[in-house]
Structure formats: structure tokens, C-alpha cells
């Protein structure tokens, strides 16, 4: 069985090896597949008996560490657009503050965990299905879509970007853009991060590539930088207003996930990328199905304590 650690905020003791195993497994998958693990960690913590609000807030704290580690590595290689990151953070600050307020009011109503579960079903279902489809199509070497459509869409979008007011030059990314777009994108990601306890990279990365037209060499590093700032804000807000950050839980997860991420990154060079995507998508879809079944199958317990679903 092994020793158990008492989480004073969750008021529960959890097996240390289970927590380290969860941290290293999610970290391993993150390192292996190049995606953030926040959207996996929170539902897994809920499954082992951590109340969802505490799981989400403590996971945000854990993401701060992995984002700090990643930002450091990418900044050494010149892959972080700090100016763009600060604009995204400004939007993220508003979004995450709003998200924490929403969590607070939903918590008072007793519906927060229901909303979190539904959002997770949508989120995990979307990400899992997308990755599975992409992995399978790449393995079958399906024909790529007609590039002519992309070109016409791209030029229409570029015209729209040109119309927006107050253009600002982002030297590191090599683009000139109205700050409205990064502010709005940051706000949406911050909102999702606060409610779900995720970094938001799965939304931010495609937004940076396809909406903000940033070059791929600065996308990952800048995303990590804004994740670092947004999740730091979420951690401080959740701790000061909702008392839901469990430092013991976050530190144990962090110890596992940082090591797991490094091991995953090493292994990723030896395994076919599309196979990895299918493995990851399968894990994501299994968790999504479990959460979905919990929502639709009649529960064993008709009563629950307020604050848990």
C-alpha cells in the first residue's frame, strides 16, 4: 500500500505512490505527446476522491511549475515573445479573475462540479476525437485537404486583421497586429483555465497559429509564458478567495510530473508520432467516457455533500 499523505485542504489522506504515479503518468504523456496535462490531471484527481474544486485549483499550482520549467528552456533558445505573452496575460488576467468569480458563485449554488464535469466531457471529447482522427488519418496517409480553400480563407482573415485598430509590432514574432485579438484570446483561455484548472494550451496553441498568425518557433514558448502568468494568477486567486489550493497535493504531483515529463520527452524521440497521438487520444477518450457515464447513469448515492457532485 505504501505511506499516505494527508492533504489539509482536501481533509483526506491519499497514497503517496498513487499521487506520484498520477503526476508522473500525466507528465509522461505530456512529455510524450507535447501537450499540457492539466485537462487530464483534474479528472484523475477527482476520481481518487479529491473534491473537483480543490483538484482544479491545486492542478493550476502544479501547472505553474511545469510552465516555468518550459519557459526557461524555450527562452534560452529565443522562442518566447514576451511582448505578445504580456498582452495575452492581460486578457488572461481578466478572464481568470472572471472565471474564479464564476466558480465562487457556482460553488455557492452547488452546481460548480456539474458544470466542470460537462465542460470536461465536451473538452476531452473534442480533443480526444480530434487527436484520434488526426493520428488515424496520418497513419492511413490520407490525402491532405485542398490548399486552395485554405489560401482563400487565409487572405480573408488577413484582410480582417488589417482592418482592426491600433496595430502593434511584435518583433520576436515578426508580425504587426491589433492588441484586441491577443487580449480576447487571453481572456477566453484565462476563463477556461480558472474554471477547469487547466493551462489552456490546447486552445491557445491553435489560436496563436491560425488566428494570430504567429510563427511556430515562438508559439510553444510564448504559450508556456502566458500559461505561467495566468496559472500564477489563478493559484493566488483560488488560494485567497476560495481556499482551494492544496500545497501538499500540488507539490507531490509536481515532483512526479516534472520527472515524468522528462522521461516522456526522451521516449517520444523513439516512438512514431502518430502512434503516440492515438495512444494519448485513447486515454483522453476513456476518461471522457467515464465522466460521461457518471453523468448519465443513475448514481448509487442520491445525496451528496454541497460542493461535490
Amino acid at each position: 500500500m505504501g505511506p499516505s499523505l494527508y492533504s489539509p485542504i482536501a481533509e483526506n489522506s491519499i497514497n503517496v505512490f498513487l499521487l506520484l504515479g498520477l503526476g508522473s503518468s500525466v507528465g509522461f504523456f505530456s512529455g510524450l505527446c507535447g501537450v499540457g496535462g492539466g485537462f487530464l490531471m483534474t479528472p484523475l484527481l477527482t476520481m481518487i476522491g479529491i473534491p473537483p474544486t480543490i483538484a482544479a485549483a491545486s492542478d493550476s499550482n502544479q501547472i505553474v511549475a511545469s510552465a516555468a520549467s518550459g519557459t526557461y528552456a524555450h527562452s534560452r533558445l529565443g522562442g518566447v515573445d514576451f511582448k505578445m505573452g504580456l498582452f495575452l496575460f492581460a486578457g488572461g488576467l481578466a478572464g481568470s479573475t472572471l472565471g474564479v468569480r464564476i466558480v465562487e458563485s457556482l460553488r455557492a449554488e452547488g452546481h460548480v462540479d456539474f458544470i466542470i464535469r460537462i465542460l470536461y466531457v465536451v473538452l476531452l471529447g473534442g480533443v480526444g476525437a480530434y487527436m484520434m482522427a488526426e493520428g488515424v488519418s496520418c497513419l492511413r496517409k490520407k490525402a491532405v485537404p485542398d490548399p486552395a480553400d485554405n489560401i482563400s480563407n487565409a487572405s480573408a482573415w488577413n484582410r480582417f486583421l488589417g482592418v482592426l485598430p491600433w496595430p502593434v509590432r511584435f518583433g520576436k514574432s515578426g508580425i504587426t497586429l491589433s492588441p484586441i485579438l491577443p487580449l480576447v484570446a487571453g481572456c477566453l483561455v484565462g476563463l477556461v483555465a480558472a474554471i477547469l484548472g487547466v493551462g489552456g494550451g490546447f486552445i491557445m496553441l491553435p489560436t496563436m497559429c491560425y488566428v494570430l498568425r504567429m510563427p511556430i518557433r515562438v508559439v510553444v514558448g510564448t504559450n508556456l509564458f502566458q500559461e505561467l502568468l495566468v496559472c500564477t494568477n489563478v493559484t493566488i486567486l483560488q488560494a485567497s478567495e476560495n481556499h482551494t489550493v492544496d500545497l501538499v497535493l500540488a507539490l507531490t504531483l509536481l515532483a512526479g510530473s516534472t520527472v515524468g515529463a522528462q522521461l516522456g520527452a526522451r521516449l517520444s524521440h523513439r516512438i512514431n508520432a502518430d502512434t503516440l497521438k492515438i495512444i494519448f487520444a485513447s486515454v483522453v477518450l476513456i476518461i471522457m467516457v467515464k465522466i460521461f457515464l457518471e453523468l448519465v447513469i443513475a448514481p448509487d448515492l442520491m445525496l451528496s455533500l454541497k460542493g461535490e457532485q
Binding site: 499523505l5 516555468a68 526557461y72 460537462i118 493559484t235 507539490l251
Partner: protein, 260 residues
């Protein structure tokens, strides 16, 4: 007449005195010794539940019920309702009067069998004291109470163990009753108590109680104190530790030449 009346009242007083002495001696004879170890449970970093040993000496021919209970509290409950094919929480139900923790065991299994009669212990006793208000609707009290018990048992907060306490005759000294309560891992700090009821022929002869204190200690106590009393400082500390450890891990793996 006066003399006769006075003699009668003297006889009455003597009879009453005799009865009091008889009853008092019966109570003294039924009095039990109760020891609880430990009487203070400290929840430290490695807390994983705790075993509370209860030991009592009771008079011969008696049976015993041991209870471990927390203070009565208000609990905000949510009852599941089905909406659009999904189960979600309905209106809030406020429960009053039930202890936060209730564990009971007996020497005789019959003593803890639910009978729906008013009893001094067990779930029947809690059922008489508990009330549900708020979004109760048309749900019957007994149904809500049963659902409440399932919730509490599922969380390890309630448990009934008929016949789990051992009993053995001590030569010339009555009977020794022993039992062990397992405190759940999901436990809140506070004041609890252990009660012993000595029972003979369905009648409670005596009741003894000992306090049991549960408190946070060491690192969990410091974290809890900081998180609730200095919440902003705690949040800044949590974020700072995460940033620092993230940079240190990045630096470490950079120096040992492994991929980030």
C-alpha cells in the same frame, strides 16, 4: 391521629431511604470502568486513519454498546435530480442534529439491530434527532434518512458493527469488554467522545463517557493555518514555490543534458 400520621411518615421516609440506598448500590454495582487510548489523535503529514482502542470492565451478566461520536452539526446536502438525461444536484437540503461521525459496536449483535423503535444508540437514536429542511419536497423522512446513512457510510463517517466488541469474564472482577474503532482517513478536526452503555435485559444500567480530541499537527497544521488565516500570502507562497521548483528542474535537466 397526629402520632399515627407521624409514624406513617417516618415509615415512608425509611422506605424511601431504603429504596434510594438499594438503587444507588445497584448503580454502583453496574458502574463500569472505561479507558480510551489514545485520547488525542494528531493528524500529521502521514496520517492514514487511526485505531482507537476501547477497554471497559462491566458487571457480570451485562452486555455493552460502545459508541464513538462527533458533535451534532448542520450539513448542507444536495439531492440528485435528472435533467435532460443527466444527473445533477437539485435544491439544497439542510440536515440538522446528526453527529459528524458515528461509529458503534456491541457485544451482543441484537443490541445494534435496527428496530425502528426509539433507542438510546445506533441509527434509530440518530433518526429520532435528525431533521431535514429546504428542498425536501415529498420525500419521506425515512427515505431521506436512509440516503443520508448511505452517504455517511460511503464516506466512512458512519458505521455500525453488531457483535464486534469482545467480551470475556474476569474471575471475581466482572467482564472485560474490548473493541477498536478505526477512524476514517477523511476526518475533520474537533472534539469527539467515546460512550459506553452497560445493558442488562434491555435496560441501560449505566453510561460512561470519555472525550477524544482530533487535531492537526506538524506540517498539515501549518499549511491549514496559513491557507485560512493568511490566504493571500499562502497563494503567493504556493505560486512562488512552483515557479522556483519549475526553474530549478529546467536548470537541472539543462545541465545534465536531457531533453526538456
Amino acid at each position: 391521629m397526629l402520632c399515627t400520621g407521624s409514624a406513617r411518615s417516618k415509615v415512608c421516609v425509611m422506605c424511601a431511604g431504603f429504596l434510594v440506598v438499594m438503587l444507588w448500590s445497584a448503580v454502583l454495582a453496574a458502574r463500569a470502568e472505561l479507558t480510551v487510548t489514545p485520547h488525542v489523535v494528531r493528524i500529521g503529514t502521514w496520517y492514514d486513519g487511526a485505531k482507537i482502542h476501547v477497554r471497559a470492565v462491566i458487571p457480570e451478566g451485562c452486555q455493552a454498546v460502545l459508541e464513538l461520536r462527533g458533535a451534532p452539526a448542520q450539513t448542507r446536502l444536495m439531492r440528485k435530480e435528472r435533467h435532460w438525461g443527466m444527473w445533477k444536484n437539485g435544491e439544497e437540503i439542510l440536515e440538522r442534529g446528526a453527529p459528524v461521525l458515528y461509529l458503534a459496536m456491541s457485544t451482543d449483535p441484537e443490541l445494534l439491530t435496527r428496530s425502528k423503535k426509539n433507542s438510546s444508540w445506533g441509527y434509530d437514536a440518530i433518526s429520532g434527532r435528525i431533521s431535514f429542511t429546504g428542498g425536501v419536497g415529498n420525500i419521506a423522512h425515512h427515505q431521506l434518512f436512509d440516503e443520508f446513512l448511505w452517504l455517511k457510510e460511503n464516506r466512512g463517517r458512519y458505521g455500525i458493527f453488531p457483535g464486534r466488541a469482545s467480551i470475556q469474564v474476569l474471575p471475581g472482577k466482572g467482564q472485560l469488554v474490548e473493541g477498536a474503532f478505526i477512524l476514517p482517513t477523511h476526518l475533520a478536526c474537533g472534539n469527539y467522545h467515546v460512550a459506553l452503555s452497560v445493558v442488562k435485559d434491555g435496560r441501560v444500567l449505566s453510561k460512561e463517557m470519555r472525550p477524544l480530541k482530533v487535531k492537526l499537527a506538524g506540517f498539515p497544521a501549518a499549511v491549514f493555518e496559513l491557507a485560512h488565516r493568511h490566504a493571500l500570502a499562502y497563494g503567493i507562497l504556493a505560486a512562488s514555490i512552483a515557479i522556483l521548483s519549475g526553474f530549478l528542474v529546467g536548470l537541472l535537466f539543462h545541465f545534465i543534458g536531457k531533453p526538456e
